[in-house]
Structure formats: structure tokens, C-alpha cells
């Protein structure tokens, strides 16, 4: 019998891929019958390198784990170290951390707006949102000195206090972005073709979601209300008032709706945090990093990033260097087993859209 299926490689060099990875598709006509992901193109061996660095040096590697959203990684590391050591964080630093984390979430949402629509051919959206994302990066630049890598949330608090008048700038940017988000809605969510392309595509139902350990917007898109910020609250999230949106559709459209609401919730949280921000110190000084040892022990902390739950397992043997740092990215489960299962039966035209919707972020898988 003649083999009807042909093999199509998406990636690693491909405009539609969400990073440097590869999906090998077996297709019959336009339908995918088998999908295999191949990762490892970005394996830099962070976790090995961190064993060779001391506790502060390995912190600078931390934010490079996942580029679209670097602050949750710093937060993870800082909190893991604080948990092992029992170090207190000043109250003001906690609020600043939440603000930075939410700004990072918002920036990442803007990137997602671009990616999701770019994968469906609506390039105008990407140009708008990625352009507007610069305003958030400007804030980061003023606060931390860097656009992408901040190294701001570090063990013991944050690196420095807010500059003068920073809060007003943040609020002004939030006002602008809120207006822009409405524009995005006009272009994207009121778009009949976008609706047609995304409804009923890339379905992750509840059973699959639980079986695969799905997290974040993908889980909320199938109707399960789960958010680390509420379930396992960290910093000051338990004092804040925000909604965790859910949708029932379980397809790309539902996940898009979830993210759309979440972006607005982020703005709401940032406003609240600035309103409630207490005074005081921001940094509980760590000892000389060259001699800084942590007690023997381990910790597992989690943060809600845009793609979902990101966890970090840190183990210390009482020495100068970490014994083991192990990051569990949200994409780690989404991009391999889940993607392989979800892609079966879909049209090849939707591969890129599904990948964007699931939030596959290769650097996070490979580390």
C-alpha cells in the first residue's frame, strides 16, 4: 500500500514557529495525523551553570530562562532563596515586586497579541501591540536600566527604590494602554474572520487538561478557575482585588478571551498596588555574596506567569553554590506532550495559531 502521509517540518527555521524548536508533522491532505516535537535547540545548560556559580551569580542567569517575561523567573529565584534562608522581605518591596510582575505580564500579553494575530495573518495587530509594548519597556528601563533583562527582583527585596514620580508615569502608561486595549478589541475580537479561524480549533478539554497538567490561561480557557496568585498566594496578592476570568470554549477563541480579560486585570492590579504602596525600606541587605551560604534545605515556589504556573525547585547543601536549581516552565508541559496530542486532527494552517495559543516558549523548556 502506498504511504499517503507526507512529512512536513515546521521549524527550526520557520517564520511561524514560536521560537527555536521544531514540529514534525505527518499530514494527509491538509490534516495532521501525527505530530512530534523536537526541542533542544536552545539548551544552554543553565541549571548546570548555576551549580558552578554562587547564590548571587546564579541569580543573573535566572532571568535568561525565558525571554518574553523575565521578571517571574527573578521572583521565583528570589523567593526560593528567601524560603530556604528564612529571609524577610520589606513590605514595600513586596508591593514593588507585584507591580513589576504585573507590568511584565502586561508586556508579555502585548507580545502575545502580536504573535497570535501574526500567526493568523493579521499583522497590523502585531505592529500595534509590539509597538505599544515599548512604553512598558520604557518604564522598566527607567526603573532597572534594562529593557529586557532587569535583574531587579533579587533575594532580600528589590534592587533599588522607585525613582521620583515613577508611579505617575506608570499610571499614565496604564491609561494609555487601557485605551489601546479597546482598539485591539475592535481589530481583533470584533473581527469575524478571527472568530471563524479560532472557534473550535485547538481544543483542550477538561480531561485532557488535567491529564496533561495544563496550567494558566489554557486551563482557565476550559472552565477551571485556577491561578497561582489566588490558590497559592505570594507577595501581596491576597490583599488585592482582582478576578480570574474563565471561559468554557476550550478553544483558541476562549483562551484569547481569557487573556484579553487578564490583561485588563493586570492594569487593575497595578493601579491598586500603586494606591496601596507603603513606605519604608525596599531591601533587606544580603551578606557579602562571595561568602553567602544558605542553610541546607530545599524549596519549591511557584509564580503565575502569562503562560501559566512556573515553578522552581531549589536545593541547597549548605554551601556557597546552589546544589540544584530546576525550573518547571509552563511551556514544559504544553509544548511537548500536549501539543503533540492537540495537533492531531487539526489543519496545518492552524499549527502556528495553536502553538501561540498554548504559549509554547522553547527557552523555558530547554533551559
Amino acid at each position: 500500500m502506498r504511504e499517503k502521509a507526507t512529512t512536513l517540518y515546521i521549524g527550526p527555521q520557520h517564520p511561524g514557529i514560536t521560537g527555536n524548536m521544531m514540529v514534525r508533522l505527518k499530514i494527509e491532505g491538509d490534516t495532521i495525523v501525527k505530530a512530534t516535537t523536537e526541542v533542544g535547540y536552545l539548551h544552554r545548560a543553565f541549571e548546570k551553570l548555576q551549580e558552578k556559580r554562587n547564590w548571587l551569580q546564579s541569580f543573573t542567569l535566572m532571568c535568561r530562562f525565558c525571554v518574553p517575561e523575565t521578571d517571574p523567573m527573578e521572583e521565583l529565584y528570589a523567593r526560593a532563596v528567601e524560603t530556604i534562608e528564612g529571609r524577610e522581605v520589606p513590605e514595600r518591596a513586596k508591593y514593588i515586586r507585584v507591580m513589576v510582575l504585573e507590568l511584565a505580564r502586561l508586556a508579555s500579553f502585548m507580545l502575545w497579541y502580536g504573535g497570535q494575530n501574526g500567526s493568523l495573518g493579521l499583522y497590523t495587530m502585531g505592529q500595534w501591540s509590539v509597538g505599544d509594548r515599548n512604553y512598558i519597556l520604557d518604564l522598566f528601563e527607567e526603573l532597572t536600566g534594562g529593557r529586557v533583562y532587569h535583574m531587579y527582583i533579587w533575594p532580600g527585596g528589590v534592587r533599588r527604590d522607585l525613582p521620583k514620580g515613577f508611579e505617575q508615569k506608570v499610571l499614565k502608561t496604564m491609561d494609555y494602554l487601557e485605551k489601546r486595549l479597546d482598539d485591539y478589541d475592535d481589530l481583533m475580537f470584533d473581527n469575524a474572520i478571527f472568530k471563524k479561524r479560532t472557534k473550535g480549533v485547538g481544543i483542550v478539554d477538561k480531561e485532557t487538561a488535567i491529564e496533561h497538567g495544563v496550567v494558566g490561561p489554557v486551563l482557565r480557557g476550559c472552565g477551571i478557575r485556577s491561578d497561582i496568585r489566588i490558590d497559592d498566594p505570594y507577595e501581596v496578592y491576597d490583599k488585592l482585588d482582582f478576578i480570574v476570568p474563565t471561559q468554557e470554549g476550550a478553544d483558541i477563541w476562549a483562551r484569547a478571551l481569557v487573556r484579553r480579560q487578564e490583561a485588563r486585570q493586570s492594569i487593575r492590579i497595578i493601579r491598586q498596588v500603586i494606591d496601596m504602596m507603603p513606605g519604608g525600606p525596599v531591601y533587606n541587605k544580603i551578606p557579602n555574596p562571595q561568602k553567602w551560604t544558605l542553610p541546607k534545605g530545599d524549596a519549591y515556589v511557584r509564580v503565575e506567569s502569562v503562560r501559566g504556573e512556573v515553578g522552581l525547585y531549589a536545593a541547597s547543601d549548605g554551601g556557597l553554590n546552589p546544589r540544584r536549581i530546576h525550573v518547571r516552565g509552563a511551556a514544559y508541559v504544553h509544548a511537548i506532550t500536549l501539543l503533540e496530542d492537540v495537533l492531531v486532527g487539526e489543519n496545518i494552517a492552524d499549527v502556528s495559531a495553536i502553538m501561540n495559543s498554548l504559549g509554547t516558549c522553547p527557552p523555558e523548556i530547554e533551559r
Binding site: 520557520h14 536552545l42 544552554r44 551553570l49 542567569l61 507580545l111 502580536g114 502585531g126 509590539v130
Partner: protein, 182 residues
């Protein structure tokens, strides 16, 4: 008359001028530097006004932008991609990790010096380089092209043994690289 030196010069000048103002960058985010490429292409920095735009496949591209560290696994693909590109072609190394390994200097899986494997025309340093730096890198490349000095592809042809030998040292004998027939 056509092949006479002066007219050749004029033809080269015009060709280089066109090449300078039309730089198609291959859409291949090899590393984390890929995150600063969308801002470079979009509204605030808008590289398209300088003639820089993306190309989907290596056949159509002029510039291979190595955005950051290269793992050995990616290196093989990058070199295949580079060899599929058509002359004239240029390589831009982006980020500290392409220059000297950056913070991955002791990693077992990333290369440290890009120009051992590919002829790099322009390096952009920084971790992460800002979009302004990227634009400045493209400006430098344009300048080199206009002066006719961006001849990395020629270097690759001349010293092909050297580049391939360096690659072979890393990837061992297991992985078969196809022959480069240009």
C-alpha cells in the same frame, strides 16, 4: 567596453547601493535575542524604513542574524541555512554570547566564538542589545556593503576547509553535513 574597469566600478557602485538599501533578514530566531527583533521591526524603531525586512526562507534572504548563543544542535542547522542562502550574503552576530560566549562561557552546549564557524561581518554587542544597537549594526553593515568590504561569503568560500574543520571538531563524525556546492 562593458568589462572595462570603470564601468565595472560604476556597476558595482549601483549594485552595492541597491544591496545596501534592501536588506532581507532571515526569520530565524536562534536565541533569546529574537525578543528584540519584533520591536526593531515595529513602530518605534521601524527598520523597514531603512529597507530592512524579513524573509521567510533562506533562498530569499541576504542577512543571517544570529540572535544570541548558538547551541551545538542549532549550529548545524544554522550552517545549513547559511549555505542555502544565495550570494551575496552577510552574517550579523547579535549579543555578547556570539562574541565570546557571554555568560555561557563554561556551558557545555553553546559555542563561544561565532566567527570560527561562520564569517561574521558585523557584531552587535550587549546582553541584550537594544533596538537602537541593532539598527546601528545594520547601519554598519550598510556602510560595509557600500564600501564593498562585506565579503564574508567570499571568505567562507576561500577558507571553507577551515570553517568546516572547526565545525567537525564540535559535532563529531556522527552528524552528516551535506556538501556545499555553490
Amino acid at each position: 567596453m562593458i568589462n572595462d574597469k570603470n564601468s565595472q566600478k560604476i556597476a558595482d557602485f549601483i549594485k552595492n547601493w541597491a544591496r545596501k538599501h534592501s536588506i532581507w533578514v532571515l526569520a530565524y530566531g536562534t536565541g533569546c535575542g529574537a525578543i528584540e527583533i519584533p520591536p526593531t521591526m515595529t513602530s518605534r524603531y521601524d527598520a523597514e524604513r531603512l529597507g530592512v525586512r524579513g524573509a521567510a526562507t533562506p533562498r530569499q534572504a541576504d542577512v543571517l542574524l544570529i540572535t544570541g548563543y548558538l547551541t551545538t544542535k542549532t549550529l548545524k542547522r544554522v550552517i545549513r541555512v547559511y549555505e542555502q542562502m544565495q550570494d551575496p550574503k552577510y552574517v550579523i552576530g547579535f549579543g555578547s554570547c556570539t562574541i565570546n560566549g557571554g555568560m555561557y562561557y563554561d556551558s557545555y552546549n553553546t559555542i563561544k566564538v561565532l566567527d570560527k564557524y561562520l564569517p561574521v561581518d558585523v557584531y552587535i554587542n550587549g546582553c541584550m542589545p537594544r533596538p537602537e544597537a541593532v539598527l546601528a549594526g545594520f547601519g554598519k553593515l550598510q556602510q560595509l556593503i557600500a564600501e564593498g568590504k562585506a565579503n564574508g561569503a567570499q571568505k567562507y568560500k576561500d577558507d571553507h576547509e577551515y570553517y568546516r574543520g572547526n565545525l567537525r571538531k564540535i559535532i563529531g563524525n556522527k552528524y552528516e553535513m551535506p556538501l556545499y556546492n555553490w
